[in-house]
């Protein structure tokens, strides 16, 4: 869930550089995010994501609201949410965890670092951690 096209592309590049087999689906604002998760049009055929990367600053509906909505919904709250955002303020970190984000990652300053993080996430969430079916 990311509104900046350059950051979306970075994610795609990182995943392809990592040779991952995951499918990346993108929504670019908070409202779209909600519709996607609830399989509402135009996302009636959307799959249930295994993992969500969420930027806090989304247009239309703020990322924090999307997060709290997800964690309040019994059908959605078991999906791990990784907050991936530019802010490093203690307040934002605290609030994110308070709203039950699974973890908080600050977008790194360059691509090498980003690649390292994406690899680590893949390793952790898909090879070390067991996800619910």
């Amino acid at each position: 869930m990311e509104d900046s096209p350059s950051d979306v592309r970075l994610m795609r590049e990182a995943l392809s550089a990592h040779d991952s087999s995951h499918e990346l689906l993108v929504v670019t604002d908070g409202e779209q995010a909600v519709r996607f998760l609830r399989h509402e049009p135009p996302y009636t055929d959307s799959p249930r994501p295994d993992l969500v990367f969420l930027d806090l600053n989304l247009p239309r509906l703020d990322g924090r609201d999307v997060l709290s909505m997800m964690k309040a919904d019994p059908a959605l709250r078991s999906i791990p949410v990784i907050v991936l955002t530019t802010s490093e303020s203690d307040q934002d970190v605290h609030n994110a965890y308070d709203l039950h984000a699974n973890c908080y990652i600050r977008k790194p300053g360059d691509f090498d670092e980003f690649l390292r993080i994406v690899r680590a996430c893949d390793d952790f969430w898909f090879h070390i951690v067991r996800l619910p079916k």
Binding site: S4, S6, A17, T86, G109, D110, F111
Partner: protein, 494 residues
């Protein structure tokens, strides 16, 4: 002294009788006494001494001790000639007469002495009174006197002149009508309470004169005790502190302005550094992607261009991060506290670890210091890291850290035997991003010492660099040190 000055001459005759009056009194009074005695003699047979003595006392009272003495001489002559046997001669008949004469002179002498003491005392009082009045007129707005119930009895001339009022208008509590409305009630209450309890009076308030000019008045007074107990009066001074008050307000306003300006500047610096990082992230990331994707596929020039761009982007990111680090110095929400310097230095060394094998750190005296622990750990980290970074490659790195307590301050140093700093650069190196070497010689952005300086200066201290060991550098700093408890007073004295 201007003309019309309220000051009075201090040396003055107590009773200003002219010389002519005194001489006439000296001669006349004993004669009058003589005549009175003659007139009363048939009925009352009075002895002459009391009346003569009264005349001498009278002259002494009216004209002073010297005329009194002269009157005594005249009276003695009169007494001896007219009233001691044998009469109308200057001889004395016998022992009785001699005794009587002697007694007369002695008693009168004593009376003159007593009266002149009284006279001196009165003169002294008058002198002191005049001195006080003069003193009280020296500074605006002068002295004041009130009675034991707090009613104003006398205010100085300069006060009356400034506030264009008469003594009658100020009497009692009349002076309070000059106080500005919003302070009047409080002053009256405080004054009445003070008078009731007999405390030292020290109050500041604003007064307005009929022309509308407002003055800030500092009034101080003490009760004057009656030697028999109780209170006789109140005596005090009013000082014109309007100028001082104005200056104080001005300085406060300036300080507030400066603080606000600094806060705005700080905020701006932080927000800029923070916001600039965002687009920089995109730049750096995509340059790296370019590097990865197209390295070797375009020509060598393209490779080099991309390398330079990537390097610059990284450098820029480092600069921004350093600026933000500098920004956060001095904004620690934690309060200052007393810490063991040794503990802080140990933490700093642990944070800089691992150090090269041939690094030797020795410690001198390290007393306690009153500071922010986190910031001072940062300070020592930076200084130690610098000492290690700028070492001489051929020699082992020796670092000495010591401190000592002085009156009201602690001074410390970190001395090394490294490459040193030439005297002409010793001021510049503490500036932001100032470096003496290229980044290929020694890495870094040149923010370290600027952070050190900001830490030390935000504690009210000073940092500078001197010669170290063998051409190395010695970074010294002093920090004001306030005792925070009775134990520390002992340590300070030690």
């Amino acid at each position: 002294m201007n003309s019309g000055s309220p000051l009075v001459p201090v040396r003055t005759r107590l009773r200003n009788r002219s010389t002519f009056t005194c001489i006439s009194l000296t001669i006349a009074l004993p004669i009058i006494a003589l005549l009175i005695n003659e007139w009363l003699r048939p009925q009352l047979k009075p002895s002459f001494e009391p009346i003569l003595t009264a005349s001498v006392a009278g002259v002494c009272w009216f004209c002073g001790r010297y005329y009194g003495a002269a009157a005594l001489v005249v009276s003695s002559v009169v007494f001896e000639y007219f009233f001691l046997a044998p009469y109308y001669t200057f001889d004395l008949a016998g022992v009785n007469e001699a005794l009587r004469f002697g007694f007369f002179v002695a008693v009168n002498g004593l009376i003159i002495a007593l009266m002149s003491n009284l006279y001196d005392a009165e003169a002294a009082v008058l002198r002191s009174d005049r001195m006080y009045r003069n003193l009280s007129e020296l500074l605006p707005f002068g002295g004041w006197i009130a009675d034991e119930d707090g009613n104003m009895r006398h205010v100085a001339e300069s006060f009356r002149r400034t506030f264009e009022c008469t003594m009658e208008q100020c009497a009692g509590l009349g002076w309070t009508s000059l106080i500005v409305e919003d302070e009047r009630e409080k002053v009256i209450t405080e004054w009445k309470a003070c008078v009731a309890k007999g405390y030292f009076w020290d109050f500041e308030y604003r007064m307005k004169n009929p022309r509308g000019e407002v003055y800030t008045v500092l009034s101080r007074g003490v009760p004057v005790a009656d030697p028999h107990g109780g209170r006789l009066s109140w005596i005090g001074m009013c000082l014109d502190v309007t100028e001082r008050e104005r200056n104080l307000q001005e300085r406060l306003r300036q300080a507030r302005d400066i603080a606000r300006f600094n806060a705005e500047l700080d905020q701006l610096a932080y927000v800029s550094a923070h916001d600039l990082q965002e687009p920089l992230r995109t730049i750096a990331s995509y340059l790296q992607l370019l590097q990865r994707r197209y390295q070797g596929q375009l020509d060598a020039d393209a490779d080099q261009f991309i390398n330079y761009a990537v390097g610059a982007a990284n450098h820029l990111r480092q600069l921004l991060q350093d600026l933000m680090r500098l920004q956060t110095v001095g904004k620690s929400p934690r309060p200052k506290d007393r810490h063991e310097l040794r503990a802080l230095v140990d933490r700093a060394i642990a944070n800089v670890a691992p150090l090269p094998d041939d690094t030797y750190i020795e410690f001198g005296d390290l007393p306690t210091i009153y500071c922010h622990d986190v910031e001072f750990i940062q300070l020592f980290e930076q200084l130690i890291a610098n000492a290690v970074k700028y070492r001489r490659p051929a020699a082992a790195c020796h670092i000495r850290i010591a401190a000592e307590r002085g009156p009201g301050f602690v001074s410390a140093y970190v001395r090394d035997n490294g490459v040193g700093i030439a005297p002409e650069f010793r001021d510049r190196i503490f500036d932001v991003f100032q470096r003496l070497h290229s980044r290929s010689e020694y890495p870094g952005t040149g923010i370290g010492l600027a952070i050190c300086r900001k830490i030390v200066e935000s504690h009210g201290g000073r940092i500078w660099v001197e010669n170290g060991e063998n051409g190395g550098a010695c970074f010294c700093f002093t920090v004001p040190d306030i005792a925070s408890g009775p134990d520390d007073i002992h340590k300070l004295k030690a």
